[in-house]
């Protein structure tokens, strides 16, 4: 484990951490969550101006309303999706679990996103993943296929056969430099990351950046040959989502990615045009394993920030919170 003992001397993210940590320790998990949940929008030194588009949007409410509200704060889906665009949405639907397990993106979040894209004139919306368990079971039990069946020009697909993938060069990758990516992703005009917020035993959390692993063919090599966290950053230099919408209506706060673990009913949706910022926000907002974790504690988010892929310095970003 790479323990950086100099953490307190680096003040880029160390905002009043000591006092808050001590406070949280005394008050147990419920207090942690309450504190963490109200934090967004209260603690940040740069409040959003009324007409200014924030870097990060946080909406509170059910999956449908919160998704709409979060994207609306960022200027509406029209900022991201133009008429005639081909859109790919990458949710989590890798497990044959129902929504309560919080291992897959809530079907209503995915459905709402695809409806918004279609309303904005998208020529097609493809909801894609490369599942870990049997594809048909995942599609069925996640509820995503059923939810999106009525949305026009929208399809839910899982892909594993080689004919769906094309080789790409990750020219900004440091070590992980080539991989096979789903052809439909390469053809798409817009890529939307729509992960569920969940913990991950190997990478701390699995959010929009980690979720991009579901669009490539050989994930094993990222575990085997490279440092997984660095490989995720290498991958995201290429698979950089235009919009990240994190479903935190339920948060799998421990024992992810498969659980069963602690599921927090958080009723939040976080959106940002910067996937690193969206991930950082989700990390910061929730107590992972009952602990207060900072974005820099997640190696791939930290590295992405350092390499300029996006920003995790929440205190310098504009966050806008609404109740939908």
């Amino acid at each position: 484990m790479k323990k950086n003992k100099n953490i307190s001397s680096d003040n880029s993210t160390g905002y009043f951490s000591v006092t808050r940590r001590e406070f949280l320790k005394k008050h147990g998990q419920a207090a942690i969550f309450a504190a963490a949940a109200v934090k967004a929008g209260l603690i940040f030194p740069l409040p959003a101006e009324a007409d200014q588009i924030p870097d990060i949007a946080v909406a509170r409410g059910g999956p449908v309303e919160a998704t709409r509200a979060a994207v609306e704060i960022l200027g509406g889906i029209g900022v991201f999706v133009k008429s005639g665009d081909k859109v790919v949405i990458k949710p989590n639907m890798s497990f044959a679990h129902p929504p309560e397990r919080a291992t897959n993106t809530h079907p209503d979040v995915v459905r709402t996103l695809s409806e918004m894209c279609i309303d904005a004139g998208a020529s097609s919306v493809m909801i894609l993943d490369n599942p870990l368990q049997g594809a048909e079971l995942c599609i069925e039990r996640s509820g995503i296929e059923k939810a999106c069946r009525q949305v026009p020009r929208t399809s839910v697909r899982t892909m594993s056969s080689g004919r769906f993938f094309d080789k790409v060069i990750l020219d900004q990758g440091k070590r992980f430099k080539e991989t096979d990516v789903m052809r439909d992703v390469l053809d798409a005009d817009v890529l939307i990351a729509a992960p569920v917020a969940k913990s991950h035993s190997a990478t701390g959390v699995s959010l929009s950046m980690k979720g991009m692993m579901g669009l490539i063919r050989d994930r094993g090599i990222m575990h085997r040959r490279y440092n997984l966290s660095s490989a995720i950053v290498d991958l995201c230099t290429f698979l950089k989502a235009d919009l990240a919408v994190i479903d935190a209506t339920r948060v799998l706060a421990s024992h992810g990615p498969m659980g069963p673990g602690e599921v927090i009913k958080a009723d939040r949706v976080i959106a940002s045009a910067d996937m690193v910022a969206a991930d950082a926000m989700a990390i910061d907002m929730f107590p992972w394993y009952g602990r207060d974790i900072m974005p820099r504690n997640v190696a791939h988010v930290f590295e992405a920030h350092e390499r300029g892929l996006g920003r995790m310095d929440l205190e310098n970003l504009i966050v806008k919170t609404v109740t939908a």
Partner: protein, 546 residues
């Protein structure tokens, strides 16, 4: 196109459809192992070797009963092996050849072979060794279509999807563009293919060579059709032209065309259609003389000798090093790779019942069920084993036991199946990416449907490492399958503590011995222990780092 060909086509079609339907989820409206249950040898051989009355196999007895009335109609109309051989006949035989050109002496000798095989198999069965799989036509043909033809067709379908992709894209056929098929790979295929090439090739010497000379099920039915109620009759219109004798695919007509060897006759009625004088008919026969039993059934001594050869072979199997005499005693030599499917009986009983038809392997949705080669001894050839590196055993699937015709694998409810432990996983630390390479891998933890893998921090590695909670591990092998280590996996399933029970509930048994094998996602479950010290600010949860 006569009635028989139509019936045969329907029969083979039905057989293939049922074989195709043998998959997960399984249809409820018909037992997909229906044809296997019809085989009289599967009935009698398995009954003797298992010492059990097996109700599902009773149709095989019914076929013997019907044979008393109708003769060997099963061979002529229903048997998919016979029909396949009829098809092969078209490729391997010149049409105008005399169907019965073999030297008569040779003919008499050859025809006895099937009885020897039958008595050999029954002789083995007396000592509880099932060799039904060696020659039961339904076991053979199910294995052939299920493990050789089916995977080939699936591969061709997948290739077609590949090749036609540009066209399908152009035409906007999304259903075809995004269609994905599960391709299958099986062990022992070459042996099965060689066997069938031989069977098909032998047609060169005589049509239905297998059915005439070799098939033990045919021999069993021959014993019942010495004098069937409905049988071939020749009227006085016969001009003794001999066409019927030449055309008979079974060589069941004597030089004197009035004489029929009813035991060899498969009631195909080719002779009826061939007769220019319409002198031949099949009808309820009165007490006229039955001729033609000469010489085809071996003498009593020869039969006893065959049976003794069988029991002798059975003794060899029993005294072979791979034989399991009892699961409960030490001294059994079985490899770690011999993981039996969920619901498998105790090994000796399992082998006494399994006819190695391969239906469970065809039906297995993850392709993890594979035919065994010699790991389980000569009695266990082609019997199913779990090969987790090829695919995990899906906790929600119970298809293998459901399709097993003999009950060698028990038919379990999905809930029971989830508790039918087949082995236990072990981490091979020196191969593990987390233990040995300090990598944040933990794919095994991620994929375990039973949540049987826990992560801990150890001084040896900077990454959290996997530990197996043994009482939660069912041996499903999801970990072994998904492990990104190349070559053999860094986490492997071994048959350790598999629940092998001939009766009773796996859930009750499992609970009684302290297992927790619930993969059902909806059930209330206790969280695993936290993997870090929540009071130590220097210790972060798994995956996070300072």
């Amino acid at each position: 196109m006569n009635f028989r060909v139509v019936f045969q086509a329907i029969s083979l079609g039905f057989f293939l459809i049922l074989l195709w339907l043998a998959t997960f989820p399984l249809v409820e409206w018909i037992p997909v192992d229906f044809f296997l249950r019809l085989d009289p040898l599967v009935f009698s051989g398995t009954l003797i070797s298992s010492r059990q009355w097996i109700w599902t196999l009773v149709p095989g007895l019914a076929i013997i009963g019907l044979t008393l009335i109708l003769g060997r109609f099963f061979c002529g109309y229903i048997c998919p092996m016979g029909i396949t051989i009829d098809i092969s006949d078209r490729f391997f035989r010149t049409r105008n050849k005399d169907q019965n050109a073999l030297d008569p002496d040779k003919e008499v000798k050859l025809r006895k072979i099937k009885y020897f095989i039958l008595f050999f198999i029954l002789g083995m069965a007396i000592l509880s060794i099932s060799s039904v799989f060696l020659a039961s036509p339904l076991s053979l043909i199910t294995r052939f279509y299920g493990l050789v033809v089916y995977p080939g067709l699936v591969l061709m379908g997948d290739t077609a999807l590949d090749v036609l992709l540009p066209l399908n894209l152009m035409l906007g056929l999304d259903g075809l563009v995004y269609a994905e098929v599960q391709t299958y790979r099986f062990a022992t295929q070459w042996f099965i293919v060689l066997f069938f090439i031989t069977v098909f090739g032998l047609v060169y010497y005589a049509p239905r060579f297998w059915c005439r000379y070799l098939c033990p099920s045919g021999a069993l039915m021959a014993l019942a059709s010495k004098r069937p109620l409905v049988r071939r009759k020749v009227s006085a219109d016969c001009t003794d032209c001999g066409i019927c004798r030449k055309k008979c695919p079974m060589g069941a007509i004597d030089d004197d065309p009035y004489n029929t060897f009813h035991q060899e006759c498969i009631t195909c009625e080719t002779c009826v259609r061939a007769c220019p004088e319409n002198a031949v008919s099949f009808s309820l026969s009165h007490a006229e003389k039955v001729s033609g039993t000469v010489g085809f059934i071996p003498g009593r001594r020869q039969l006893i000798a065959s049976a003794l050869a069988g029991t002798g072979s059975a003794i060899l199997v029993h005294t072979g090093i791979s034989r399991v005499q009892s699961d409960f005693l030490p001294g059994n030599i079985l490899p770690d790779s011999l993981i039996r499917p969920p619901g498998a009986l105790l090994e000796e009983d399992f082998q006494a019942r399994c006819i190695s038809c391969g239906l469970c392997m065809k039906a297995c949705p993850t392709n993890t069920l594979q035919p065994t080669w010699f790991e389980a001894g000569p009695g266990g050839l082609f019997s199913p084993k779990v090969l987790p590196r090829r695919g995990p055993c899906d906790p929600l699937c119970n298809v293998c036991g459901r399709v097993c015709p003999t009950g060698a694998l028990r038919s379990l409810s999905p809930a029971e199946k989830m508790w039918a432990r087949i082995g236990t996983s072990t981490v091979i630390k020196h191969k593990c990416l987390a233990w040995e390479w300090n990598r944040e891998c933990l794919v095994c933890f991620e994929v375990c449907p039973y949540a049987a893998i826990e992560l801990k921090r150890v001084p040896e590695s900077s990454a959290p490492v996997p530990f197996i909670t043994r009482h939660k591990c069912s041996g499903c092998g999801a970990c072994e399958y998904h492990c990104p280590v190349q070559g053999s996996s860094a986490i492997i399933v071994e048959p350790m503590e598999a629940l092998r029970m001939n009766s009773g509930s796996y859930i009750e048994k499992g609970r009684a011995i302290g297992l927790e094998l619930e993969a059902d996602p909806d059930r209330e479950r206790k969280l695993p222990e936290y993997l870090f010290d929540p009071d130590d600010s220097e210790d972060l949860p798994p995956g996070f780092s300072f």
